[in-house]
């Protein structure tokens, strides 16, 4: 509920309309001022017109009947007159030879216009008068909550038992192949096409900065090492995928690719 509605319909809060704390409140106050001024002006104009009308009626009553309109319903809806009647619609002025017709604004066009105005009013009403206004945040939280549930259900299904305490090294070809695909997709930018190391360390030697057991590699991939530029992959890869890619990395041991980076970290014997 915005401040304006609160102050109008819930006076118990003891707030004044001028307790502005957000741009939205100020906006509403400005809109109300604008509406008030516009209403006042409209009132003045209406009164004036009524006065003029009374004067005019007092002088003479206009009894001239309009010629019968025998257009089809379609022509009326489209706001079209037959071309042969065009000369009757010609306004008397012309500019550099350009004449103007006194055609009405087509009814379908006015319908469209009023419809869009109604859309605008209802839209603002729903989201900013009835609703709390923080549309984006609500939408986001809802989206994330739904996705979180889905993710949990999925992880439970495919990788329910895999975590950094239970993970084991895969050795069968299928798992390693999947790991290789993932490695090529995500890891080669920093660790090289063959794991030889570029910006990131060499993954094919026996030296490890953050431990070389499958559990430790799983941990490093999952959580990342933000200080050194290794990002956390847990949002993009599920535990099964991390198990696959970790196992593939360990399968690279001793491959001695060309251009391998110098060893970093401690020597760990991998079994």
């Amino acid at each position: 509920m915005n401040l304006l509605v609160t102050t109008l319909f819930d006076p118990t809060t003891g707030k004044s309309v001028w307790d502005l704390s957000s741009g939205e409140d100020l906006l509403w106050v400005m809109v109300m001022i604008f509406v008030t001024v516009a209403t006042g002006l409209l009132l003045v104009i209406t009164l004036y017109l009524a006065y003029v009308l009374r004067q005019a009626l007092g002088l003479k009553l206009n009894t001239a009947a309009k010629p019968a309109d025998n257009r089809t319903a379609w022509q009326k809806w489209a706001g079209l007159h037959t071309l042969s009647t065009e000369k009757d619609l010609m306004l008397e002025h012309a500019y550099d030879g350009i004449a103007e017709l006194d055609n009405p604004t087509p009814p379908w066009f006015m319908g469209l216009f009023y419809l869009t105005i109604a859309f605008g009013a209802i839209y603002l009403l729903i989201f900013h008068v009835i609703g709390a206004g923080n549309v984006m945040e609500q939408e986001y939280n809802q989206e994330v909550a739904v996705a979180e549930k889905q993710r949990e259900a999925y992880v439970k299904l495919v990788a329910g038992k895999i975590n950094e305490n239970t993970v084991t090294r895969l050795t069968e070809a299928k798992g390693l192949e999947a790991g290789k695909t993932l490695f090529n997709q995500y890891c080669t930018a920093c660790h090289g096409q063959k794991g030889e190391g570029k910006v990131g360390p060499n993954l094919t030697d026996e030296y490890w900065l953050h431990g070389g057991s499958v559990k430790e590699v799983f941990h490093t991939v999952t959580e990342g090492v933000p200080d050194k530029g290794m990002i956390s992959w847990k949002k993009q890869l599920n535990p099964l995928q991390i198990q696959q890619v970790s196992s593939y990395i360990l399968s690279l041991q001793g491959t001695k690719p060309a251009g391998a980076k110098e060893p970093q970290g401690e020597k760990v014997a991998i079994n």
Binding site: S21, S22, G23, E24, L26, L27, M30, F34, L83, M90, L91, E92, A94, Y95, D96, G97, I98, A99, E100, L101, D102, N103, P104, T105, P106, F109, M110, L112, F113, T116, I117, F119, G120, A121, Y123, L124, F127, H128, G133, N134, V135, M136, Y140, E143, A147, Q150, R151, V155, V158, Q185, A189, C190, K198, V199, K228, G229, K235, Q236, L237, N238
Partner: protein, 741 residues
């Protein structure tokens, strides 16, 4: 051969206005007045026409070059002055302000004189206007490739040029109003209403958006920061479309279309309604460029609803044009100029329906930052502005040169190749935009992003980019043929520099009778009241949107851990601006799961309070960078800037080797901090005085870290500052999280 009224042949010379044979119309009521003889200035019209043709071809050529760079980065010639980031603004400025701008002045100078039955107010002002405008364009051509840019889209030019634009615009205004004041026609025709609204609104937009704090002669910082800067920029940017690309063209459509078709305007009442509704509603719609950004929700909603309400007023212009052709459709079949007009109006109708639909948040969520938007603007630019300009040029030049067009075959060919060009441009871009937008959002059943590597989505759309470049080339070819055709026409004829005309002088006293007592007729007799009325109408929306965003602090929630950039980071940020990185990289993570998973926490308004100017961007050719800080090691950035494909195989980002060789200019560091301090960034005197000591210290640290990773680069190189800035991006908020833990 089809004879058409728009192709004056020697035997159809009666269509041409002959000196002394001008219809002088009826004696205006209100007393006996004399017939006065005068001459229209056609030379200034010709000058603007020639400028529009030349700049149009140049601007489109640059467009084809930048389009090519998007699939073949080598097309930048390995040269820092011709990389995408620097010449993309050159393309937009050239086509908007040089091609379309000159065409507007051509159309206004031609039609205004005839609608007011008088020569332009001052030949001297006309000349100053013409040459001033060309100099401004030349200064854009000189500064943008050098990286001298404010980085605000469609307002990239630096502050001295902004001042020059203001002055020349005022000259145009005086000349226009002078002409209106000495008119020999009592009422202002609808075309002139649009010209007046254009003049006054562009003046307001340009001045407010260009408020800058100069650092030196060619460097400044936007007075506004972050969210406020974004709102002002898109209030300006959207209304540059509205009041530079739309209203003047509607005005010219109201003059040239009835002239070409020889038909009366369909509805005077529709003109009134759609004119006032259009200018009132348009000014509110800017925030639709910032949906799902850090702009407050209420402002975004205003952007949405006012865009929807714009459908009918925009279409009012289209249907008033198309219905003016009612009873003349047989002419459209034969007359290529009317074909140009019909395609132009249809493109306008499509773009103005699509715009509001893109303002719906669920459509925008897919389309924003993609090629869809590029397709949308080009339907408007190539179809509406381009085709109307071509039609006007083809109609005008033979008339003021008193000779038939050199080649009708070429004219026909231009129409078809131009139309084909638009199709080849727009269709691939729609496909590309939709495809990439969907790819960014797609999750696998495992709840992870299906395309976690941004580059995958870019590579997917490269064939579409190639087709687009082909479409652009076809369109350019058409424009070149037009240039040839029209210059041949000029060579064959002789310019009637001063076209003689005559009209009755306006009687001084005037009492409206009959239909002239209609309320709007009063306004049409009063140009200055008309100007004020338009100003009031456009100020309402502007003030209601801008004031609350500026006045109320909580619209930009302050985050304690957000600190000003260090001296080195300021310099790095200026390099980011210089290279036009913002053309391809946004700095705005939207609150979608697909974006927070890909990039990190979504952007908060309070993070941008020291961003003069804001760098949210409007297109993601590459990934968002707002959470780039700390994502990769320094060395990754070094290698990536030196050769992007070494880190991301297949990348279409150009290499920036000069950043590694060039020395950073630190002569202005203190001046920069001082300028930023004046507009609200809290640097104390010590920080300003010691700016370069601090800068060197941090640069040495960065250089040291790089050395550890085996890269030897001196701390005084530009790359060091850029890396420092990139590593800072979006990290302040992480510090807060760490502190909370």
């Amino acid at each position: 051969m089809n004879v058409s009224i728009n192709q004056p042949a020697a035997d159809a010379a009666s269509n041409l206005v002959k000196p002394g044979k001008v219809s002088i119309g009826q004696q205006p009521p209100g007393g006996e007045t004399l017939v006065e003889r005068f001459a229209y200035d056609n030379k200034i019209v010709r000058d603007f026409a020639v400028a529009s043709i030349i700049w149009g071809i140049i601007g489109m050529l640059v467009g084809v070059i930048v389009a090519t760079q998007l699939f073949a980065p080598a097309a930048n010639l390995g040269n820092q002055y011709t990389t995408f980031g620097r010449i993309r603004p050159l393309h937009t400025n050239a086509v908007i302000f040089a091609f379309v701008g000159n065409a507007i002045f051509m159309g206004v100078y031609y039609s205004l004189q005839r609608l007011c039955k008088t020569r332009m107010f001052s030949d001297v002002l006309s000349k100053i206007h013409f040459w001033g405008w060309q100099l401004i364009i030349l200064s854009a051509v000189a500064t943008l490739p050098l990286g001298l840019t404010s980085s605000k889209e469609y307002a990239e030019l630096e502050w001295p040029i902004d001042i020059a634009i203001t002055l020349i615009w005022v000259v145009f205004g005086i000349n226009m109003f002078g002409t209106i004041v000495k008119r020999r026609e009592r009422h202002l025709y609808v075309a002139i209403w649009f010209y007046i609204a254009t003049f006054v609104t562009v003046a307001v937009l340009h001045i407010v958006n260009s408020m800058e704090m100069p650092v030196s002669f060619l460097k400044s910082y936007s007075m506004y920061a972050g969210v406020q800067d974004a709102l002002v920029q898109w209030w300006y940017g959207h209304n540059a479309v509205a009041f530079f690309l739309t209203t003047p063209y509607l005005g010219m459509m109201y003059y040239f279309l009835p002239k070409m078709a020889n038909r009366p305007v369909y509805s005077y009442r529709l003109s009134i309604l759609h004119f006032w509704a259009l200018i009132f509603l348009y000014i509110w719609a800017g925030p639709h460029h910032l949906l799902y950004s850090s702009l407050p929700d209420w402002a975004q909603s205003l952007g949405t609803v006012f865009s929807i309400m714009l459908i009918a007023p925009s279409w009012g212009g289209m249907i008033n044009g198309l219905l003016t052709l009612r009873g003349a459709w047989d002419k459209v079949r034969e007359d290529t100029l009317l074909k140009f007009m019909v395609v132009g109006l249809t493109a306008y109708g499509m773009a103005t329906l699509e715009g509001p639909l893109l303002s719906l948040k669920n459509v925008n969520a897919i389309a924003h930052f993609t090629d869809w938007i590029v397709a949308h603007v080009h339907v408007g630019a190539l179809g509406w502005n381009g085709f109307l300009t071509f039609a006007m040029l083809y109609w005008l030049i033979p008339r003021i040169y008193r000779t038939p067009l050199y080649s009708k075959k070429l004219l026909n060919f231009h129409f078809w190749i131009g139309t084909l060009g638009i199709l080849f441009y727009a269709i691939p871009m729609y496909i590309s935009g939709f495809t990439q937008g969907m790819m960014w959002k797609e999750f696998t059943e495992a709840s992870v992003l299906k395309y976690p590597t941004f580059l995958e989505t870019t590579l997917q759309i490269l064939p579409m980019h190639m087709m687009r470049a082909l479409g652009g080339t076809l369109y350019l070819l058409g424009a070149i043929l037009m240039g040839y055709n029209l210059f041949k026409t000029m060579a064959a004829g002789k310019l009637v520099a001063n076209e003689e005309a005559e009209a009755y002088a306006l009687p001084v006293s005037y009492k409206p009778t009959g239909s002239e007592t209609y309320w709007h007729r009063w306004l049409e007799r009063k140009p200055f009241q008309f100007l004020v009325a338009s100003l009031v109408v456009i100020l309402i929306g502007s003030l209601i949107e801008l004031i609350p965003t500026f006045m109320v602090k909580s619209n930009v929630p302050t985050i304690a851990s957000v600190q000003p950039y260090t001296a080195l980071e300021v310099q790095g940020r200026d390099l980011f601006i210089r290279e036009g990185c913002v053309s391809c990289h946004s700095q705005l993570v939207r609150p979608f799961r697909s974006e927070t998973e890909r990039y990190g926490e979504y952007s908060k308004a309070g993070e941008f309070v020291y961003d003069h100017p804001f760098l949210w961007g409007s297109k993601r050719t590459g990934p968002d960078l707002h959470r780039e800080g700390g994502k990769y090691p320094d060395s990754w950035h070094y290698h990536h800037m030196n050769d992007p494909t070494s880190m991301s195989p297949g990348s279409v980002m150009p290499a920036y080797p000069w950043l590694i060789t060039q020395q950073l200019d630190i002569s202005n560091t203190s001046a920069k901090l001082r300028a930023l301090n004046k507009i609200g960034v809290p640097y104390d005197d010590l920080a300003i005085a010691q700016a370069n000591e601090d800068l060197t210290k941090q640069a040495t640290e960065v250089s040291g870290r790089l050395a550890k990773e085996g890269i030897n680069v001196k701390p005084d190189r530009e790359i060091v500052a850029l890396i420092a800035y990139l590593q800072r991006l979006g990290t302040d908020i992480k510090k807060m999280e760490t502190a909370q833990k």
